[in-house]
């Protein structure tokens, strides 16, 4: 980043798929948008190196302050994207494969409707991490998200599959409306966990301020989570929500809290 934007920058072209098969000057000519103006990557960024022939063979490194840059790695399907600082919204949104590493924080809507690949955030994640786009019942369906810091509200809304691991704490609403997938919270949770959950798993190592009434105590179980065995209080729910059946058996969502 050489010229930071006055407003925000929309850089949906910064992804291995878009860079593949291009040299530095071709990459510098890719479009970016600031408000209603369109210009090129080269206007804002120093571009060096050459991309691989395919996305898979392409590794993109973004340096400098990109706190006000949106859509980094959007729709990427393969290859690697490394961001050395913090990013704005929609980082890795609609990604289907490849690896993204963000060394700082990401803002809201990261990995929106993610289908595959891996997103690692060394700092904190914003709201709606791995959630569905507005109105869509098809949220994150595959891949893995790992957050070293904390995450905001609405993690994994409408989640269908894949896994989200948060080392720190989360804000309200986790896996609302989910029908699959797993969210592991190593730190503390607040409230409204698993509201309208049909299927899927939430594991909390720390505290939960207020439990949803739709989660019914189901005893103590021993679980192995990420290699470590421990005892957990088991709850099933959301008992207020519609239930689906698998092989004639009613399926519940599961919430485990470390005992």
């Amino acid at each position: 980043m050489k010229n930071p934007p006055a407003l925000y920058l929309e850089a949906d072209n910064v992804a291995p798929d878009k860079f593949a098969g291009k040299n530095a000057s071709q990459i510098a000519d890719l479009h970016v948008h600031e408000g209603n103006t369109t210009s090129t990557l080269g206007k804002y960024f120093e571009v060096s190196g050459t991309a691989g022939a395919t996305a898979a063979e392409t590794r993109v490194i973004v340096k400098g302050d990109v706190k006000k840059v949106k859509y980094l790695g959007m729709k990427m399907s393969a290859g690697e994207l490394v961001v050395e600082g913090s990013t704005d919204q929609y980082t890795g949104a609609w990604m289907t494969g490849g690896n993204i590493l963000v060394k700082g924080n990401v803002e809201a809507f990261a990995a929106l409707a993610m289908k595959g690949g891996e997103l690692v955030i060394e700092g904190n994640a914003g709201n709606y991490l791995g959630a569905a786009y507005r109105g869509d019942w098809r949220g994150m369906s595959g891949g893995k998200i790992f957050v070293k810091g904390n995450a905001g509200s609405d993690v994994g809304m409408y989640m269908l599959g894949g896994e989200i691991v948060i080392n720190g704490n989360v804000d309200v609403h986790v896996m609302t409306h989910a029908e699959g997938g797993k969210v592991i919270i190593k730190g503390n949770a607040k409230s409204k966990l698993g509201g309208q959950l049909v299927d899927g798993t939430i594991i909390v190592f720390g505290s939960i301020d207020v439990m949803m009434p739709g989660f019914k105590p189901a005893g103590i179980v021993e679980l192995e989570v990420e290699g470590a065995k421990a005892k957990f209080a088991h709850y099933i729910g959301d008992t207020g929500e519609r239930k689906k059946k698998r092989k004639g058996q009613i399926v519940y969502g599961n919430l485990y809290q470390k005992a």
Binding site: Y133, R134, G135, D136, W137, R242
Partner: protein, 569 residues
């Protein structure tokens, strides 16, 4: 106004019986003329197909439930947008496009007239605002009447003349075009969470049956002599085994003859017939009854139908059949919107995915095509997708491909996961008919225009008719190497003229045209009793005043076209 002469095209015009012969079509002052002046702009249509503008007889494209669909499905817009371009407004949406996009997409396919199939009378202002904002195409709207309290009470008392007088008032108040009936009686029952699944199920409290409502509406329609007939969506939509209800409904038209000055011959139009031609008694033994339904339709000259072809897309279902949409959301668990409308009707909306991997969806696809392929009189069977219910109207070119090419059908059948089930539960595998361009012109132009009572105005290329003309880059005398050529040609017309104005060139919008809102102004004898009844219901039961219900100013309908009907004799 510019004059045009479209030269050397292969003309297909059922109105004049022209079956692909090379002929010229001349346009002057918005009309087709026998000869254009020397200054006329020449359009070379050599090796191309020339037809009248397409006529959509049944689609949900404007009004409250359509907009519920748009508003509550942001995901339907994702990555679908066409940006602002010159005088063309931006537009987006896949199964429920914005109004601007709707007008542009119809025009690009060569359609110049479209009818909104269900207008809740209380919401007529909304319907007309959206029609106003839908460029190019002429539009009209059918007010829904099959569950209307006035109608049910008058018909229960066998008061045909009062039913007719009320309908005439309503058509005027709402600037409506025709009488629509959706799940007669069943939607009123839905106000209590109930339904009428057969034509003899009594309607709660009103103590009348769907059969009586339907016959009463046919009688009122012919008493008035409206341009279109009763347009009916029968009871029991979408359920296995419902074809018997469909046949029962069709038989209600027996003995009735069309009375009108518009050349219309049918007394009942049965819409989205595909949804009403199901056999079996559950989803496992679900099967096609297209043959049983078409055997009856082919015999019954006073009936027309449209198909409601399933296009195998993710779409958004919407209908005034409130109980059906509730049934559907209980099946697929997708978001459900419902609106019950005081004294009049209801509507529901639920997204739906017609997946080629699900056998029922594939069989539904087959049934829609069977209906058209079994039609003996293409002037009485029209192609629709019941947009957006069986699929978006933007798929017409693909439906046309399937109808015109047995090879295209075979390719699709082989692509189905449950191919064998499709072949065993329907006759689609044995249908070798290929719809000709002339039959296509009947099923998409001349036929629907005649059924709407507009055959003197649109649907043909006879001098004196509106100059709605389409040139498709499709050569009738060259063999079709790949069926996709058909789809491509009908997706982007080479030229489209609407009322003599060229609105599309090479598949691109070049002009926003001069769209009209078509409505029917039916005059009846003074009827103080009906006016008193209307007055009383507004005082007691409506939530708006009669004066405000009747207020529909110029800002709603800037360019009206009224069709006059005189029923005072």
């Amino acid at each position: 106004m510019a004059e045009y002469i479209i030269k050397n095209g292969h003309v297909f015009d059922p109105v004049q019986g022209i079956k692909g012969d090379k002929a010229d079509v001349a346009i002057k002052d918005g009309k087709i003329v026998a000869k254009a002046g020397s200054g006329a702009k020449v359009i070379d249509a050599k090796g191309k197909t020339v037809m009248a503008g397409g006529v959509e007889i049944h689609a949900h494209i404007a009004g409250p439930k359509v907009n519920v669909g748009r508003i509550y499905r942001p995901e339907d817009k994702l990555f679908t947008y066409t940006p602002t371009k010159g005088n063309q407004r931006m537009g987006g949406g896949n199964s429920i496009p914005t109004t601007f996009k709707t007008g542009y997409l119809y025009a690009k396919m060569g359609y110049t007239t479209a009818m909104e199939a269900a207008m809740p009378p209380l919401f007529s202002r909304h319907v007309h605002e959206e029609i106003r904002d839908t460029p190019i195409i002429d539009e009209g709207a059918y007010p829904v009447l099959g569950n209307n309290w006035f109608v049910m009470e008058y018909i229960k008392n066998n008061e045909v003349e009062n039913t007719a007088a009320y309908i005439a008032w309503l058509l005027r108040a709402t600037k409506g075009y025709a009488i629509k009936s959706v799940n007669p009686g069943g939607t009123e029952a839905w106000a209590w969470g109930l339904n009428c699944l057969s034509i003899h199920d009594p309607v709660p409290y009103f103590d009348i049956t769907p059969a009586e409502i339907t016959k009463g509406l046919i009688e009122a329609n012919e008493f008035l002599g409206l341009p279109h007939s009763l347009h009916i969506h029968p009871n029991n939509l979408g359920n296995p085994g419902n074809y018997t209800t469909t046949l029962d409904t069709l038989k209600l038209a027996e003995g009735y003859k069309a009375k009108n000055k518009f050349g219309r011959e049918q007394v009942m139009h049965l819409t989205h017939t595909q949804f009403h031609s199901y056999g079996g008694d559950n989803w496992a033994n679900f099967e096609s009854k297209a043959k049983e339904v078409m055997d009856y339709v082919n015999k019954a000259k006073n009936i027309t139908i449209d198909t409601g072809n399933v296009t195998l897309d993710e779409t958004t279902t919407m209908t005034a059949d409130g109980p059906f949409e509730h049934h559907l959301t209980e099946l697929n668990h997708l978001k459900w919107a419902n609106v019950d409308v005081e004294l009049e009707t209801a509507a529901g909306v639920v997204p739906y995915i017609y997946s080629p991997t699900i056998s029922v969806c594939a069989i539904q696809w087959a049934i829609g095509l069977e209906l058209a392929l079994m039609a003996k009189d293409p002037m009485r069977c029209f192609i629709t997708t019941d947009h957006p219910n069986a699929g978006p109207f933007t798929r017409y070119p693909r439906v046309i491909k399937w109808l015109m090419s047995a090879k295209a059908r075979e390719i699709q059948i082989n692509a189905f996961k449950h191919k064998d089930k499709v072949l065993s539960q329907s006759s689609i595998g044995t249908q070798d008919r290929e719809i000709s361009l002339y039959e296509l012109a009947q099923m998409t132009r001349a036929g629907p225009a005649k059924a709407l009572g507009l055959s003197n105005m649109i649907g043909g290329l006879k001098p004196g008719m509106d100059a709605d003309v389409v040139v498709y880059d499709f050569s009738p005398d060259k063999p079709v190497a790949n069926p996709d050529q058909i789809e491509a040609a009908f997706s982007k017309a080479a030229h489209v003229f609407k009322s003599g104005v060229e609105v599309v060139t090479n598949g691109e919008i070049v002009n926003n045209g001069n769209k009209r809102t078509i409505w029917v102004n039916a005059k009846v004898k003074e009827n103080p009793q009906v006016m008193r009844d209307i007055n009383e219901k507004f005082l007691k039961y409506y939530s708006v005043s009669q004066a405000n219900y009747e207020s529909l100013g110029h800002h709603f309908i800037p360019n009206p076209y009224a069709i006059e009907v005189d029923a005072t004799q």
